[in-house]
């Protein structure tokens, strides 16, 4: 083998270089895998389809809006073919009709100078207001704090994107960790590079993939909104979205460390499920909190500071205009500190348990053991 002996063995790579090499492998192996490509494509198409369909729905010709009118002001809405007019006797009857949902709004006699007023449940019905010859005063019977539908949709989206991409990539990290352990290639790898490089590269590579995937989702969403002429939504979510990316990146590293350390405790792929439970719960908590408490300011305030929920909580509060300018900065500092502490801990657990075969290693044991294994 004269050709191979001509290369003298070089120096071992530095920690940083080794980490990058591991990260590169993680990225290429994942980006090339069929399941990853297919699931990403399906996700992107679904998002695009959702945006296009909602765009088409909003551009559709509006149907007639049922409206109750007190007889004395019936003239003010006559001649509008967008309204389906029901005459009622007085304001009480009109209000009754609105509350029961028989009509979307009611036109009732109002004070000077217009002489008419519009009653509605939670939002001024555009069709009614537009149909009136004069701009009337609108009285809401049950006002919502913000646009309820959009509020729910955006908070839901932040929570969902974070949860699905962390669980997706986290499981990938966990699976790779256990596969390496099960196939014992980890022994060969660790005879070449330190455990920290292996863990660091894994987190770095998968974070890059997850961020790239999220960026692709964002790009498709923006593209879809612009193409379908709904780009006004962008001005609403632009700033919170930028913060979301920052929080996402760091929060992802935090959870990725936990996924890798958890997975290193077991030796067989079949055991991964149970050992990942705590990590998966941690990832689902922010989602359920925003879904169930998205109008509870106290819960949102607390979750916007707790490291595990901040990546979703803070952008949501920013979107709802409930946070002062300095709050995301404080939350970010807390998150970074927590991430540094937890990844150091995770690295310790990983180093101690990744070579231990057989049964499940207890976390306490992994942390307490001296450099024995």
């Amino acid at each position: 083998m004269s050709t191979t002996t001509s290369h003298r063995a070089p120096q071992a790579p530095s920690l940083g270089r080794a980490t990058l090499l591991v990260a590169e492998r993680e990225i290429t192996s994942q980006v090339r895998s069929k399941s990853f490509l297919i699931s990403t494509a399906v996700l992107l198409v679904a998002i695009l389809a959702g945006i296009v369909i909602s765009g088409l729905m909003s551009q559709r010709e509006p149907g007639t809006t049922p409206v109750a009118v007190v007889a004395s002001v019936a003239d003010s809405v006559s001649g509008s073919d967008l309204l389906e007019v029901t005459e009622v006797a007085d304001r009480e009857a009109a209000e009754e009709a609105v509350r029961s949902g028989d009509v979307d709004a009611a036109v009732v006699p109002g004070g000077e100078p217009l002489g008419v007023q519009v009653l509605a449940m939670d939002a001024a019905p555009d069709a009614v207001v537009g149909a009136l010859t004069v701009a009337p005063e609108v009285e809401l019977l049950d006002p919502a704090p913000a646009d309820g539908g959009l509020r729910y949709l955006i908070t839901f989206a932040f929570g969902l994107v974070f949860m699905t991409s962390v669980i997706g990539s986290g499981s990938m990290i966990a699976q790779n960790t256990v596969t390496e352990k099960q196939s014992r290639i980890v022994e060969i790898l660790l005879s070449a590079v330190p455990a920290r490089a292996l863990l660091g590269g894994k987190i770095l590579g998968n974070s890059a993939v997850a961020l790239g995937q999220t960026a692709a989702i964002a790009a498709v969403a923006v593209l879809g909104l612009v193409v379908t002429g709904q780009d006004d939504v962008l001005t609403l979510i632009g700033m919170p979205l930028a913060w979301f990316v920052v929080f996402f990146a760091i929060g992802f590293v935090l959870l990725a460390g936990i996924f890798a350390a958890s997975a290193s405790l077991v030796s067989r792929v079949e055991d991964t499920g149970s050992v990942l439970q705590p990590a998966i719960w941690l990832t689902m908590v922010p989602y359920f909190l925003v879904v169930f408490f998205n109008d509870n300011e106290l819960v949102l305030r607390i979750m916007s500071y707790v490291p595990f929920t901040a990546p979703v909580g803070m952008p949501v509060r920013l979107f709802l205009n409930e946070a002062s300018w300095w709050e995301p900065l404080v939350a970010l500092v807390v998150l970074v500190a927590a991430t540094l502490a937890i990844t150091a801990l995770a690295a310790r657990v990983y180093e101690r348990s990744v070579l231990r075969m057989g049964g499940r290693v207890a976390v306490r044991e992994a942390l307490a053991r001296s450099a024995d294994a």
Partner: protein, 311 residues
């Protein structure tokens, strides 16, 4: 030279290595022989730093090993492991790069080894699609791809057909000829016997014998001789000082000291032509059996205490 001194290791209460000391010389192919659970794999994992010893040291050329020096070792673990879904050539290239080779040199080395080990057609296949024998060759390649300064191979020949054994054997011999200390374990004693220069025999976590193959053979040589003649050897029974082990028409195996053996040879020559006469060298299997006969069956639980009591 790779040297282990007084290496001990326990798992819980179970002592799996007890004061293990031996050396692997520069350019020597050293066979590491022992039964199941004797401590071979634990020893190798300690040499590689995958496991820490509870006592004792491992040194290379007199200096203790650290991570950087161990990174120049080539290791083939007991349980074969490569990324199942990664292509063979890519995988070997990746491993070489992890050891510091740049991309081009790493790829060259990977392909050279793949060709050398007869896997050329499989270079682009994922490892999981290779046959067991080919996976085994791939594993050998993974241990060699970074031009290691020391080779530690756990059962490199298990599961290989005779052709593949030849190939791997010649690759290892080549490395040894370049001055690399090579330690390999095996329980295929015939392969070890054919291939290795030195031998280390371990049983119950203790080194039972170590040295060059010839030395060991001499040390364990019995005074057995075999003689084949044209006529009949029946008269040997009455020869004083010679104990007959086997006797057939024209041949006999007997035990006798050197002087008696020579006398028997002269007597045989006087009676007719002698076709062959030679001292019987013990085979490795015989040495192995002899060395570990005083061992109870290989189950290590609580064995140390029993051994200590027996001593």
């Amino acid at each position: 030279m790779l040297e282990l001194q007084g290496v001990s290791r326990s798992f819980g209460d179970r002592r799996v290595l007890d004061d293990v000391s031996f050396t692997v010389g520069q350019g020597r192919l050293t066979g590491f022989v022992g039964g199941n659970g004797a401590g071979k794999t634990t020893t190798m994992r300690i040499i590689l730093g995958v496991l820490a010893p509870h006592a004792g040291t491992v040194t290379l050329d007199g200096r203790p090993l650290d991570g950087a020096r161990r990174a120049r070792f080539g290791y083939m673990p007991e349980e074969r492991g490569l990324y199942p879904k990664m292509k063979l050539a890519e995988q070997l290239t990746y491993l070489a790069r992890l050891h510091g080779f740049d991309k081009g040199a790493a790829a060259d080395r990977a392909h050279d080894l793949i060709d050398r080990l007869g896997l050329t057609e499989r270079a682009g296949d994922p490892v999981e699609s290779l046959s067991l024998g080919n996976q085994q060759r791939a594993q050998v390649a993974a241990a060699l791809v970074h031009q290691p300064e020391v080779l530690v191979l756990d059962e490199p020949f298990s599961g290989l057909d005779p052709m593949a054994v030849e190939v791997v054997q010649s690759v290892l011999a080549e490395r040894a000829a370049q001055g690399v200390p090579v330690l390999f374990s095996s329980h295929q004693l015939d392969v070890v016997e054919r291939l290795c220069d030195d031998l280390v025999i371990i049983a119950g976590g203790r080194i039972r014998a170590a040295g060059s193959r010839e030395e060991l053979r001499r040390a364990h040589a019995t005074e057995r001789h075999e003689i084949v003649v044209a006529g009949d050897m029946g008269w040997l029974r009455d020869e004083p000082g010679a104990r007959v082990d086997e006797l057939a028409a024209g041949s006999a195996v007997f035990e006798a000291d050197e002087a008696t053996a020579q006398r028997v040879l002269r007597e045989a020559l006087a009676r007719g032509p002698v076709q062959s006469f030679a001292p019987l060298r013990p085979s490795l299997a015989e040495i192995f059996r002899e060395v570990i006969t005083d061992e109870e069956p290989a189950d290590a639980a609580g064995r140390t205490q029993e051994l200590e009591a027996a001593r």
